[in-house]
């Protein structure tokens, strides 16, 4: 691996930092990004892919074992009937949300730095939602009648109960997966056309045909771009409330129940902030090694990582505020069951999980107040791992430490996962990383056309000299003709 020197120049706050560093033009941007998929497969990729596929096969085996034996192979049991499956589901779906935030919300806010990370983050979203979807599906017990959750005619001649938040979740998650996949695909089309044309030029016929089919015959026609940009903006506009609704509905699974510790109005915003926090953590976990190994330093710059660190600081602090507010409201409500639920979290049998959560989610992002730490990929990577761990424990604390001490002390218990629980969870990482590694190997890992679009030479008035007045005057002149 060749080390690419990166100049960390002091920022001039009056001048916007360039989004693409180094001496790059359109040609070199295409070469850098397409080069990732065109060069010989690195040996390290085979190693990581092998490990991921092994974990994926393990997931298949665990699901098979579960289906043959029933959910008794897991540690779920009264009072903790909702255990690791829901924890893992919320963990994965939350990770997905950062991808949508980057692709949609930052797009609407005209945050152009998103172009360097949106493609990989959207891919992350889709693979995370796939990993998430497995858990509710397999934990229904009789997976062969999973279609009962959909409004389809079935042997009971009954329809689903549309008043249940669990059913809202079915619609929310399936819509979320569909829209995220479509958004990702629409973004990919122009870049697949780039891959198609390069493969055809280099005489790689099979690759050219494969990319060509999915590029849909894209030519870059301006008439097409007009509709394309409209579609992109509409999808961003739809995805923004969608991503908020999905995690709000996930939180309704808990909040609509009457369980002390879950039945709170703070849950939707608190879950959404946590989702964004965990997703940006995973973006860093994936992008810092990818940037290093694939030589993308000039496209994913330290400024980009710095921005992500600021978002982690913000959302981590919001999550910390929510933890505090839950305690305050429990005390202020005067309801002793609420108070017990929260005190039990902090000093009860699962206190160790609670304090891991606080340490990882509230304390670790506070290091990002320091600029030099925000700009150190090593520090960012380590803290991103803490964020991933902390956010998994948040869902663990919410689910398990709330359920383990029921209203009736006679039914109190201590939940422990079984080996099957642990291997199934590990297997979901196999699915996620297998998909992500295939994506890194064969698809444009950065949005080529979007990165080009934010470079200074993409402006049609670039090179008209630095006389802005002149450029505007000419523009106005062009308008006067209409």
């Amino acid at each position: 691996m060749t080390a690419i020197p990166v100049v960390d120049e002091p920022e001039n706050p009056l001048v916007r930092a360039p989004l693409v560093e180094g001496k790059n033009d359109f040609t070199s941007v295409t070469n850098i990004i397409a080069g990732v998929a065109e060069r010989k497969t690195p040996r390290g990729w085979y190693l990581m892919f092998g490990i991921s596929v092994a974990l994926l096969l393990n997931l298949g085996a665990m699901i098979g074992y579960l289906v043959f034996n029933g959910v008794g192979v897991w540690g779920n049991n009264v009072p903790v009937a909702w255990a690791w499956p829901i924890v893992n589901f919320v963990f994965w779906i939350g990770i997905g949300h950062a991808g949508t935030l980057i692709s949609a919300v930052l797009f609407l806010f005209r945050q152009k730095w998103r172009t360097s990370i949106n493609r990989a983050s959207e891919a992350m979203t889709i693979f995370a939602v796939m990993a998430a979807g497995i858990f509710p599906a397999i934990h229904v017990g009789r997976i062969w009648v999973i279609y009962w959750v959909f409004p389809l005619p079935n042997q009971m001649a009954m329809w689903p109960n549309f008043k249940s938040p669990l059913l809202w979740d079915v619609f929310a998650v399936s819509t979320y997966f569909t829209i995220s996949a479509l958004f990702w695909f629409v973004g990919l089309v122009p870049d697949l056309a780039t891959f198609r044309d390069r493969a055809a030029k280099a005489g790689r016929t099979i690759a050219a045909r494969a990319y060509g089919v999915f590029a849909f015959g894209w030519t870059g026609s301006n008439r097409h771009w007009i509709n394309y940009e409209k579609a992109y903006m509409i999808l961003a506009g739809l995805s923004t409330p969608l991503v908020l609704s999905v995690h709000s509905i996930v939180s309704f699974d808990f909040a609509v129940s009457l369980v002390p510790g879950w039945h709170t109005t703070i849950f939707p915003p608190y879950f959404v902030a946590g989702a964004i926090f965990s997703g940006f953590g995973m973006v860093l976990t994936l992008m810092i090694p990818a940037r290093q190994w694939l030589g993308l330093h000039e496209l994913i710059t330290l400024n980009h990582l710095d921005n992500i660190a600021k978002i982690l600081l913000l959302t981590g602090t919001m999550v910390g505020y929510a933890y505090g507010m839950e305690f305050f409201i429990a005390w202020y409500s005067g309801v002793e069951y609420e108070q017990f639920a929260f005190i039990n979290r902090a000093i009860g049998p699962y206190a160790w999980a609670y304090w891991i959560m606080i340490g990882c989610n509230v304390i670790s992002p506070q290091f990002f107040w320091i600029r030099s730490l925000r700009r150190s990929p090593m520090v960012l990577f380590v803290i991103s791992i803490f964020v991933n761990i902390g956010m998994w424990f948040e869902r663990f604390v919410i689910t398990i430490s709330t359920l383990n001490r029921d209203f009736l002390p006679s039914s109190w218990g201590y939940y422990s996962p079984t080996l099957i629980d642990i291997l199934t969870y590990a297997g979901s990482f196999g699915l996620f990383f297998t998909m992500f590694l295939l994506f890194c190997r064969f698809l444009p890992i950065l949005a080529i056309s979007e990165v080009k679009g934010v470079m200074p030479e993409a402006n049609p008035h670039h090179g008209h000299g630095h006389d802005d007045h002149h450029a505007h005057a000419q523009h106005a002149h062009a308008h006067a003709h209409h």
């Binding site: 109960n161 044309d197 609704s245 979007e450």
Partner: protein, 178 residues
């Protein structure tokens, strides 16, 4: 002049600024069937080419309203008419509990409408297009900008149009067969 087997004339430009100026000059010359082919959307090029805005929004609005109606009808008919369910202390049809699914189906149908509507308006997928025959057109998805005057343009004349595109700085100007 018969242009039966010609699709148009294609010229290559090497920057976003050049294609913008060329587009302005070509439409100012009176050509109407002109299009640019660029590696990324060039800001303002639609005005230079005198191309109107997208109508995609109307398709999406219709899809969104369909999604809302479909969701309401589905929940009303299934939970209140065909098999009334009295559960969780609510009427068989309790409108507040229908909002999340109504919203999700609105988004789902709008999103499908936006994507398939966009491809439909663009008449894609179309895996073959005459312009792909141009020798350097493969760079339209990399770093070059192309301008095409189509043969169906009333002002089109292969020799004259070629000369015009060369005069405004076009490189590799070539006639493309249909």
């Amino acid at each position: 002049m018969a242009n039966t087997n010609k699709w148009g004339v294609v010229a290559e430009f090497d920057s976003a600024a050049a294609i913008y100026t060329a587009a302005e000059k070509t439409t100012a010359q009176g050509y109407t069937h002109v299009d640019a082919y660029t590696p990324f959307p060039v800001h303002g090029l639609d005005r230079a080419l005198r191309q109107g805005p997208s109508h995609l929004g109307w398709i999406v609005v219709c899809c969104g309203i369909t999604g809302i109606c479909l969701a309401q009808l589905m929940m009303y008919w299934m939970n209140a008419v065909d098999y009334p369910i009295w559960v969780s202390g609510k009427e068989p049809y309790a409108w507040p509990s229908t909002i999340p699914i109504t919203f999700e189906l609105m988004v789902l149908l709008s999103g499908l409408g936006a994507v398939f509507g966009m491809f439909g308006l663009n008449k894609l997928p179309r895996l073959h297009h005459p312009i792909f025959q141009h020798a350097t057109f493969w760079r339209a998805t990399d770093d070059r900008f192309f301008l095409a005057v189509e043969a169906k343009d009333p002002k089109f004349d292969s020799a004259q149009t070629t000369r015009f595109l060369e005069s405004i700085g076009g490189k590799n100007v070539a006639i493309v067969e249909d």
